[in-house]
């Protein structure tokens, strides 16, 4: 039994590397159920992220080496790749990754300076600029494409036979006219190994495993994932009194980016709130907004917009969630300072 470390890893590059390691189970599960397109996306996004990072550093006349070896750009690339549709064409992946690194990060001063989550900025930008590709090129895990099909999708010739909307989206569109019982007859649910959603359930489980390992290693704290997942659970459970119109609780939790985002997106320390209590409120905010946008908005998933909105709220959350300093009567609230 390896002892749980007392502190978070002692080096930024190590932090990034551990997050990347924690993503491996999720990547494997994604590749198994959604096909080799996941790997094409990853490769293209990582390469683009590294090139963009280097280019930006050069333009900003900064040293290349320390920032390239700390793997922060690689991580941004991986996160955006995993967030994109699995049958996304190459240009979408490259544009998303480049936007994440340049507009999401370097525009504000590079590592540690970004006000919003770079990957989610890239994602949201693509969702607005290329809505069709971003909503229709998701792989149906029941029809996992082979290498050639995936490759041709990557080159821009996707086949309608394997792609479509996400499960979350189905509830908004096709399932709207169905009763809960009718919807549950969909093969995605009937063929599921664990009784939830075919494929998605394993991916969610894999991300969960990686995320729990990160908590164990003290790279992240429990506040963020617990905040998001509990909020989603509570709100969707509250509104599930009418199962024919509401999206089921577990679809909210595992069909979309819920688990992935809870452990790997919302936990970006730079753009999130920083105190433990602040992280909890930040995640609760994302949970509420996600539910609202998923249910009443136009977009299939809502994590990206919810995260971006809460990113802007993070500094304010920090002002009101400071811990009580030893020796003080109460915690200091409010922004303070004149400059």
């Amino acid at each position: 039994m390896i002892k749980r470390p007392d502190y978070p890893p002692r080096d930024t590059a190590l932090v990034m590397r551990m997050v990347l390691i924690a993503l491996i189970p999720g990547i494997v599960a994604m590749t198994v159920f959604f096909g080799p397109g996941v790997l094409f996306n990853l490769t293209a996004a990582i390469l683009t992220a590294i090139v963009s990072e280097a280019l930006c550093l050069r333009l900003r006349q900064r040293e290349l080496k320390p920032r390239l070896i700390d793997l922060s750009a690689v991580l941004t690339g991986v996160l955006i790749a995993l967030a994109l549709p699995q049958a996304a064409p190459w240009w979408l992946v490259i544009a998303a990754s480049a936007a994440s690194v340049t507009l999401g990060k370097h525009l504000y001063g590079g590592l540690g300076q970004n006000p919003v989550n770079p990957a989610m900025l890239g994602y949201a930008l693509m969702l607005i600029s290329a809505p069709v590709a971003m909503t229709t090129l998701w792989i149906n895990p029941l029809t996992t494409p082979d290498f050639l099909t995936a490759w041709s999708a990557f080159l821009g010739h996707s086949s309608d036979a394997v792609t479509g909307a996400t499960t979350l989206d189905l509830y908004k569109t096709e399932f709207r006219a169905l009763t809960a019982t009718e919807a549950s007859r969909n093969p995605l649910f009937t063929q599921a190994h664990l009784g939830f959603i075919y494929g998605y359930e394993w991916v969610a489980l894999a991300y969960l495993a990686g995320g729990l390992w990160l908590i164990y290693q003290r790279v992240i704290t429990w506040h963020t994932p617990v905040g998001l997942l509990t909020t989603l659970l509570v709100i969707s459970a509250f509104f599930s009194f009418d199962p024919d119109t509401a999206t089921p609780v577990w679809v909210h939790l595992i069909a979309g980016a819920g688990i992935f985002a809870a452990f790997f997106i919302l936990t970006d320390p730079v753009s999130g709130a920083t105190s433990p209590k602040g992280r909890l409120w930040f995640a609760i905010g994302v949970g509420i907004l996600t539910y609202l946008i998923r249910t009443h908005g136009q977009y299939p998933d809502a994590i990206a917009f919810a995260v971006l909105l809460m990113n802007f709220a993070a500094p304010m959350i920090d002002h009101y969630t400071r811990p009580r300093i030893m020796g003080r009567e109460a915690s200091v609230k409010g922004p303070g300072g004149q400059s």
């Binding site: 978070p8 190590l14 020796g327």
Partner: protein, 489 residues
């Protein structure tokens, strides 16, 4: 036999870290006296106790114990060895914020001439003890150098002996408690008797079993009627911070802006109490135990060295050539500061000289991971404070709690971006003090200006009144003269 109990601390230090202690590096060798150096250096303003003035002149002969510096606080520093004052000049000193300052240089003669004070005989009152502490130059020997007598107020209920020594590498207190236990206990008892303190708490980390045993033995022999409450603390940095020790041992949270003294609790270092015990016998502070340690020293050990001994003399005492080192840390690895000029002499607060080669990785940007906040023992958000300081907004940093920072540097130890957080905070706190000082000076200047204006106005008014009176008088006289003239006419 004095009554005592040993108990395990039932409180947990929130935050804090478990650094490698490296204590056995210097505790395996016995503590020895060092030979007298060729010269002794005494900074006039930086010996502890505030800025001072020299009481001797170049050419004067001094004995061991002759007063040589009198500080603003009253504290008197004495010559640690008999010899001759060969110079009073600017010299390298050991201090975190000054490299050079006016110093008295004494060349020891090797003679055993002593000029001590008369022993203080019981019964004596608190004032006599305070005077004695001033004359004997008793300061907090733990590192802060706060004049001890200022802590001794009436109404004190508890004395805490800070035997935690939580800083890695340091073993000076541990050594003192092993070899000079009786003096420490006697000093504590005398102080308690004078101030009518009933309970003496000893806060000691559980990594000092030998010291604990020595204390127990000493207590069994002691005839003190004080109750000794020995609290075993988990070995965790910074359990020896005064605020944390008070909380760990007594459960009292000292409010921000107050000192434990105001709550009836005084905290002393073991060395301070041992020095007090000797001062009562008439012997001022002339020597102290210094830990000479670090991987770069060939024979690390604890030594008893005269105050003022140059650093290079002590490095040589460990069979190490001073020229093999580029810098030495005064104090421990957490709170110490680097000194590069080895001709500087040790002061009463120099508890450790640490020589080691540490490679500090290059700093990278803060990613707000919050690791620093999880180890901050007073629950600050160092990531927010350093963000404010780097942005140049001191007031924002103060709002975040910069003023509460105890500069323990636990945050430095865990930062994955290797940001020297504690250094930023020390600098920031210094600037805050500086600003406060400037503000005080400015308001004093304004008051002076206003007072001057008022004075000038008053003078002008007085002159005006006088002139008016004179005018009236003249007019009166003229009137009288006119009337007289009219009458005669």
């Amino acid at each position: 036999m004095a009554e005592y109990q040993i108990r395990r601390c039932d409180r947990q230090l929130e935050g804090g870290i478990h650094p490698e202690t490296h204590k056995d590096l210097s505790t395996t060798e016995p503590c020895v006296f060092v030979d007298d150096p060729k010269r002794l250096v005494f900074p006039i303003h930086f010996s502890g106790g505030g800025p001072g003035e020299a009481l001797v002149a170049v050419g004067d002969t001094v004995s061991q114990g002759t007063p040589i510096i009198k500080c603003q606080s009253g504290i008197i520093h004495v010559a640690s060895r008999a010899g001759t004052v060969i110079d009073i000049t600017d010299h390298a000193i050991t201090h975190p914020s000054a490299n050079q300052s006016a110093s008295i240089i004494i060349e020891p003669s090797g003679l055993k001439e002593q000029s001590y004070l008369d022993p203080l005989v019981w019964p004596f009152d608190a004032d006599s003890l305070r005077n004695r502490a001033i004359e004997a130059g008793i300061l907090g020997l733990g590192g802060a150098g706060f004049p001890s007598f200022k802590k001794w107020s009436d109404g004190t209920q508890t004395l805490i002996i800070n035997a935690a020594e939580c800083e890695p590498y340091l073993t000076a207190d541990d050594t003192l408690m092993r070899i000079d236990t009786h003096s420490m206990i006697r000093g504590a008892c005398m102080l308690s008797r004078t101030l009518d303190i009933k309970t003496i708490v000893i806060g000691i980390e559980d990594n000092k079993p030998e010291a604990l045993e020595a204390i127990e033995d000493a207590l069994k022999e002691s005839r003190s009627d004080c109750f000794f409450d020995i609290v075993l603390l988990d070995t965790k940095y910074p359990s020896g911070s005064e605020r944390h020790l008070v909380w760990l041992t007594l459960g009292i949270e000292v409010p921000t802006g107050s000192r434990s003294v105001e709550l009836g609790v005084i905290v002393h270092n073991p060395g301070t109490l041992a020095a007090l015990s000797r001062a009562i016998d008439g012997k001022p502070i002339t020597d102290r135990i210094v830990t000479l340690t670090g991987e770069a020293l060939k024979a690390p050990k604890n030594v008893i060295a005269p105050i003022g001994t140059p650093i290079n003399h002590l490095i040589e005492a460990t069979d190490t050539s001073p020229s093999s080192l580029t810098s030495i840390t005064v104090g421990g690895p957490m709170m110490g500061y680097a000194v590069t000029e080895f001709t500087a002499g040790i002061t009463k607060t120099t508890n450790c000289l640490l020589a080691r080669d540490v490679e500090i990785p290059p700093e990278s940007p803060c990613i707000r991971c919050g690791a620093c906040a999880t180890v901050c023992p007073i629950r600050l958000q160092p990531q927010q404070m350093v963000f404010a300081l780097k942005g140049g907004s001191l007031d924002l940093a103060v709002h975040e709690g910069l003023g509460d920072c105890i500069e323990c540097a636990a945050c430095n130890a865990v930062c994955p971006s290797h940001i020297p957080l504690a250094e930023w905070f020390r600098l920031g706190r210094f600037e805050v003090r500086d600003q406060a000082n400037e503000q005080r000076l400015a308001s004093e200047a304004r008051e002076r200006f206003e007072a001057r204006n008022a004075r000038l106005e008053r003078i002008a008014q007085e002159q005006e009144a006088k002139r008016a009176a004179r005018k009236a008088k003249t007019a009166d006289a003229l009137e009288k003269a006119r009337k007289a003239r009219e009458q005669t006419a």
